[in-house]
Symmetry: C2
């Protein structure tokens, strides 16, 4: 996995996660280990991965091959200079790895969509009529995406009190959402849709993504134009981006799509991935507790379908854009990807150790999302994305004339 790190007086640069260490790719490059690959070492001396990503898949493939040789058990490439090229991850500062141009959030977790439908439209079909015809999505706020570990300030906002009267105060129903983020690795021009059979070429890699949500604010504001302040106070991205190629061993046929999607959304090959996802909740003074276990296989729409649909009208994706999947809930209560679902909108509190309960997040709570994949002896770790809730700070108010 690639990321951006700094340490001591060294400026942010590109690193490769290697166990508990980070391989400093700027140093590796300056020492000549990438000679002959046709790469400007300056791409590794950047505070974001965008220039590195923009090199494109053929170059990434050459770097990957070279790194595999350098890091193989038999190699003694870094003998004697281990401390020069490796740094312990625990000693490094990790940075938001991408300069994110635009951020889009899908709604591709069908069990999440069904659960929300059951809660809020109990007398209708849990899915809206469009759900199985197109990957529903909305544009989100890119500027408030922050790196794992950044504290999450509970937002103020407007919502209805118990008497259905609008009030302005700290959100009372702060939640997480278990998602994956796709990092776009190739740009398409405005007006040039991406065919589904080439869509995965536009993915550089994937990250863990927590789309923090203030349910009370969201519920009051979202009609008719969708979520706004209920989401835009913060979203957390993991510090490490896993190249999509690393997921090849975990490729799956997806769910049966019935009705069959329109031709522009039809796959010619398996386009889903078997990625195990965990949610851990840590409340102050306690050990972390796993409160949910889900899997990327529960997505109804594939990564490829998301990209092809997004660009179908000509919208231009750009290197560094993030497309998040939407909440990935499984089909059982222990696999739901949000507290909204786990507590069934606050009606079924989660019972934790020591008699603690939770419906939504309290100040001081930490949510950590983790991902990993196993198959036939191959293991890939997606790392984690974590955030701790800080108390709301009373915001500045206007000076109303007396």
């Amino acid at each position: 996995m690639y990321g951006i790190f700094s340490y001591g007086i060294a400026s942010p640069r590109v690193g490769l996660k290697h166990g508990q260490f980070i391989l400093d790719l700027e140093i590796v490059s300056l020492l000549g280990y990438f000679n002959g690959l046709g790469i400007d070492p300056a791409v590794f001396a950047q505070p974001v991965l965008n220039d590195f990503i923009a090199l494109g898949k053929p170059v990434h493939q050459r770097i990957r091959q070279r790194l595999r040789e350098l890091l193989s058990a038999e190699s003694n490439s870094f003998e004697g200079i281990h401390d020069q090229v490796f740094i312990e991850e625990s000693r490094a500062q990790l940075h938001l790895p991408i300069r994110i141009g635009n951020y889009t959030d899908f709604y591709a977790g069908i069990h999440h969509a069904e659960n929300v439908g059951r809660m809020f439209r109990p007398n209708g079909d849990p899915l809206l009529p469009n759900y199985k015809h197109l990957p529903v999505a909305y544009h989100g706020r890119a500027s408030s995406i922050i790196v794992s570990g950044t504290p999450i300030r509970r937002p103020y906002g407007q919502y209805l009190d118990i008497d259905n009267k609008p009030v302005f105060g700290p959100s009372q129903t702060l939640d997480f959402e278990l998602e994956l983020g796709l990092v776009i690795g190739k740009s398409n021009s405005l007006g040039e849709p991406v065919r589904i059979d080439e869509a995965e070429e536009y993915i550089f890699g994937i990250t863990l993504f927590n789309d923090w949500s203030a349910r009370d604010i969201q519920r009051w504001e979202y009609q008719p134009l969708g979520p706004f302040l209920g989401k835009n106070f913060a979203s957390s991205l993991s510090a490490w981006v896993l190249p999509i190629e690393d997921l090849e061993p975990f490729r799956l046929e997806g769910p049966e799509q019935e009705p069959i999607p329109l031709p522009y959304l039809q796959h010619a090959r398996p386009s889903y991935f078997d990625i195990q996802l965990d949610v851990m909740l840590t409340i102050p003074g306690q050990e972390p507790v796993v409160i949910s276990q889900s899997n990327a296989r529960f997505l109804y729409w594939s990564f490829a379908q998301m990209i092809t649909h997004h660009t179908a009208g000509g919208c231009n994706l750009q290197v560094g854009d993030v497309l998040a999947t939407g909440t990935i809930s499984g089909n059982t209560p222990g696999s739901y990807g949000s507290l909204l679902e786990l507590s069934w909108n606050g009606t079924r509190p989660l019972h934790l150790e020591n008699g603690d309960t939770r419906t939504f997040l309290n100040d001081g709570d930490t949510v950590t999302l983790r991902g990993r994949a196993f198959s036939r002896g191959i293991r890939v770790d997606l790392g984690e994305v974590a955030g701790t809730i800080q108390p709301a700070i009373y915001p500045p108010v206007s000076r109303i004339p007396d």
Copy 2:
């Protein structure tokens, strides 16, 4: 008004619109006319206004004062070098003036919201319950915002046919939306809301904005998360940005807001502006026809309220962000800001000259939005934003295995 222009082999740079001419601020700066103002001339040699905008209002004020002196009727500052510092606008190429980080679209035109409600929820209150309590908005797509004059390709997309069956084809109901865009001139940090009495300090200037909309695509996709492909194929921004200070003579008390908004949204001074807005439709081979005349005074929510609400939960605005107002319709049929309203969802075709009619836009049609303000002998022109509809191109389709 400020913008970005190029001509001949000269690279894009900052210009000031001055009648039919553009004053080349890079040259003016290099010739020393801004000496003593403490400005790095490099800000004028950029392909976007962002660095210039980031200088901040005190510096803009000094530049404005200096330019006023240089351009006054009595001045002979540019005598003998007129051709060096001025270029005819018609000979210049105009560029998208801003590198837009994030784009937000509000829904602040109350008559538009009421008209949409009357059309699509004929048996209910035309306004949804939240409308008068908060400025409803959604995040839009920044990457597909293009400069005035760029052709608009009719998008393909998914929508329901007359049998309510989803199909994929060129939008049949392509529309414009008459809006203003605010260009953000000052960043707030994540977690730091902007008070309403300081909100206007965050506005650099305003532009004309056309939020092209594919109504059929939008209608099928927008539940429950809002507009996506119905909007993100293109939005047009004018080439010139009018500093907000130029609107001072046109300041107005706004509409009575009843119910009174919550304190964080309460104004201490008039915060609306009297700006006349026109929509012209030009169909191939015909003269332009004015099809609507509206005014920014019809906005229910002020610019200041939009900014304060947007940041109320801590969302960080950044220099170069664009906040659009939403469609500004007046309270009479001749003042509606979209064809959706002007043709009442296609049921009342507009009759143009020569027997032509329109419900939505045809290929070849040009829509031009114009804005200007007059008050006590002062006139300010916002220029125009124009775009011509090009036919859909059949997009690449997936190769489905035989």
